[in-house]
Symmetry: C3
Subunit: 160 residues, 3 copies
């Protein structure tokens, strides 16, 4: 049970999760790196690779500069808005809060909406996060996006 | 951060969101207008129209009477139960509480279940709400349903 | 409104819901019976059957022993991992807390990820629960999984 966790921390983490999803879904990608500390670790991988202990992934960034680069590249590649995401996150489980670092996991389902309106289930998985809750706004020290399917292809240009 | 918001208000808003979804999913549509104040504003639109500042939508109601009319019509059109919805709402972000009015946004995914059992992802989007939290039960002053896809067609008879 | 419910109980119930989903999604099915009291009632049914008052279902267990049997059988039938689930639960509505028993309902969407990576919307519905909140860890006295579609076929081997 995690009932002993301060309510303010709990609410702050919930807000971080929702704000992060909104940032991407609203296509405000230039603000996306601000959700991370520096250095940081952002990784999109699949469950099999994660369970095998592999440290690489489809997308990997180790600093805020790499996150910024990612957005810059993405804006050049996507000449116009090809698609959008809609994140739906489930309730966040706070596993531990040690010092100023919270460790959490959150289920997520992402729908993709193509420019012509076609909507489909794009990805499902889990965020495994380490969050700096020592000061506001809270930031991700580490965000692992562990997808259930390894079938995430080249269409994955927008962060999850 | 919205940590300063009264916990009772926060819980009451959460309950409103869930009760609203249950009302529709349970096909208790006659109770649906009771979730709104009078006058009110209920609008289903798509993201492009919303961002362009357009005030119209696929469904638009400006009073509780219009909401009641909507249900009456719907019951006449749908001679038998053609389909049902299942709403899944994400965590609600409370942007502001000013006086007795809370402004919130909530992601939502709606699945549609046809009479023969076929299930599909029907709609994704966001509720942009203004809620009267001055007395219980809380009611919507304004509920904008901003869908991600503009492909919402004539099949949209049941409110979202 | 359910604002009067103790916050610790509310958080504990939230944790139970998330931990249950994680247990299944992580394929730790041997731990699944531990979420239930003994005797208990676990039932997967569809909405029509539930509304008609039928007490049977696609899966029915009345004791922890039956839950254990279910997992044993399942492990024998599924020689290798055929598929996985990803649960996304919505906010839990706590209807009543009487004595040590909480009555709740929670919307759920389940995605299924096949071994080859293909992902689809598998099931939608609602958990109707009675939970023993008298001691920790909380356990289900009764968990009814009421699915929206009656099209749940023989592929349903993993619990929901």
């Amino acid at each position: 049970m995690s009932a002993g966790i301060d309510l303010g921390v709990r609410l702050g983490i919930g807000e971080l999760m929702a704000a992060y999803a909104d940032c991407i879904d609203d296509d405000r990608l230039e603000e996306w790196p601000d959700f991370f500390g520096d250095p940081c670790r952002y990784l999109i991988t699949d469950r099999d690779s994660h369970e095998a202990g592999l440290k690489h992934g489809v997308i990997y960034c180790a600093s805020r500069g790499m996150l910024v680069d990612r957005v810059t590249t993405l804006r050049r590649v996507l000449m116009f808005e090809a698609h959008r995401y809609r994140h739906l996150v489930g309730p966040t489980r706070i596993l531990t809060v040690q010092g100023e670092v919270a460790e959490t996991r959150t289920n997520v389902i992402v729908a993709r909406i193509m420019r012509d309106g076609a909507t489909g289930l794009f990805a499902t998985g889990r965020y495994l996060d380490r969050i700096d809750v020592g000061r506001e706004p809270y930031r991700f020290i580490e965000r692992l996006v562990v997808l259930d399917s390894q079938k995430i292809d080249t269409l994955l240009v927008i962060p999850l």
